[in-house]
Symmetry: C3
Subunit: 142 residues, 3 copies
């Protein structure tokens, strides 16, 4: 993964290569750069994704793996730090060979062609705290 820092705007452009795992790469990048907070917007091409749907009655994610070429039509999300570890919360959509679209909570995304990430840094460090009502970890001040 290469990254292009732009001092005037304070944004970064990251370019992931074929075969790299996007979510793991974003976590490594946050750790290596000691990012406090960030928001990302991502396009590109994937070879496989693991998508989650949170079932509110079961209070847990249901996961499904899709192994096929997909265009990344828009992933979005933010960085927080939970127990000292970078946690990216990313949702988004992917288009298939027939131009129909899949989406969900993104757990894994294997880059198939390229992954172009527009990253806006934030100076504040957020965390996530367990919420009894939903069963999820929600954004909060540390």
């Amino acid at each position: 993964m290469k990254h292009f820092v732009d001092p005037p705007s304070g944004t970064q452009l990251l370019v992931f290569a074929k075969g790299e795992e996007l979510m793991a790469g974003l976590a490594s990048f946050a750790r290596d750069q000691a990012l406090a907070g960030a928001w990302v917007d991502i396009v590109g091409g994937a070879a496989a994704v693991t998508l989650g749907f949170f079932d509110p009655s079961a209070r847990e994610y249901r996961w499904r793996r899709f192994e096929e070429p997909l265009e990344i039509t828009g992933l979005h999300g933010n960085l927080s730090w939970v127990d000292g570890r970078p946690t990216w919360h990313v949702h988004g959509t992917f288009s298939r060979s027939d131009y129909s679209v899949l989406g969900g909570h993104v757990k894994e995304c294997l880059i198939g062609l390229t992954g172009e990430v527009f990253l806006t840094s934030r100076g504040d460090r957020l965390t996530r705290v367990h919420d009894d009502e939903t069963g999820l970890k929600l954004l909060s001040r540390p």
Copy 2:
């Protein structure tokens, strides 16, 4: 709804809670903070949404309400002021339990789990002016 202002980047992160109405909350926030202009990018989980499709021949929106758990896979849009009232124009996509995706113009979005809003402020105040050709209110300088 909680909000985390980040002075270095000039962006804000808003976190909506279960049971809050996203579009009404964004309008209240714009009024309370006296925001001039803004652009938002949103992820999270909804319990119900009202989506619009503008029918160009009928020159009006057709609305449909979806009442089911949905992942918010990407909502985007901007703030303008029409007759002194904050008006958010937000479009986006939602994924269902089978990972298929719905989308359209977002009129209402009841938060089911959480709503994470990345807001970039703009200093200019825009309005919307009725356009005879399309039948819509289009962005314009006041």
Copy 3:
């Protein structure tokens, strides 16, 4: 197409009118304004789109034209310069009259109602270089 520059935030809002071609308009804008780099986020309404899906085995795009009213539910992408010409790489999703969603690599997008573009400038000029492994032009420093 009108544009509203916001000096405090460094962002621009472009508003395309019915009948304008979005991708050609973005290219003209980049040339006229001598933009170095940029990222866009777009909502609005289209009358027709040409979407691409890159077939990794054939190493080429397959294109399909959709001629129908569509809500632009989220387009994203970046500007680079290839052989002195502005090149926008934009992916995204569009919703149909039944609220189902199409997506892919966006080659053409004829505006049907309006096209609202949130543009963040970057000071760095990127280019694209042919990559033998994928058959695509990938983002790189000039």
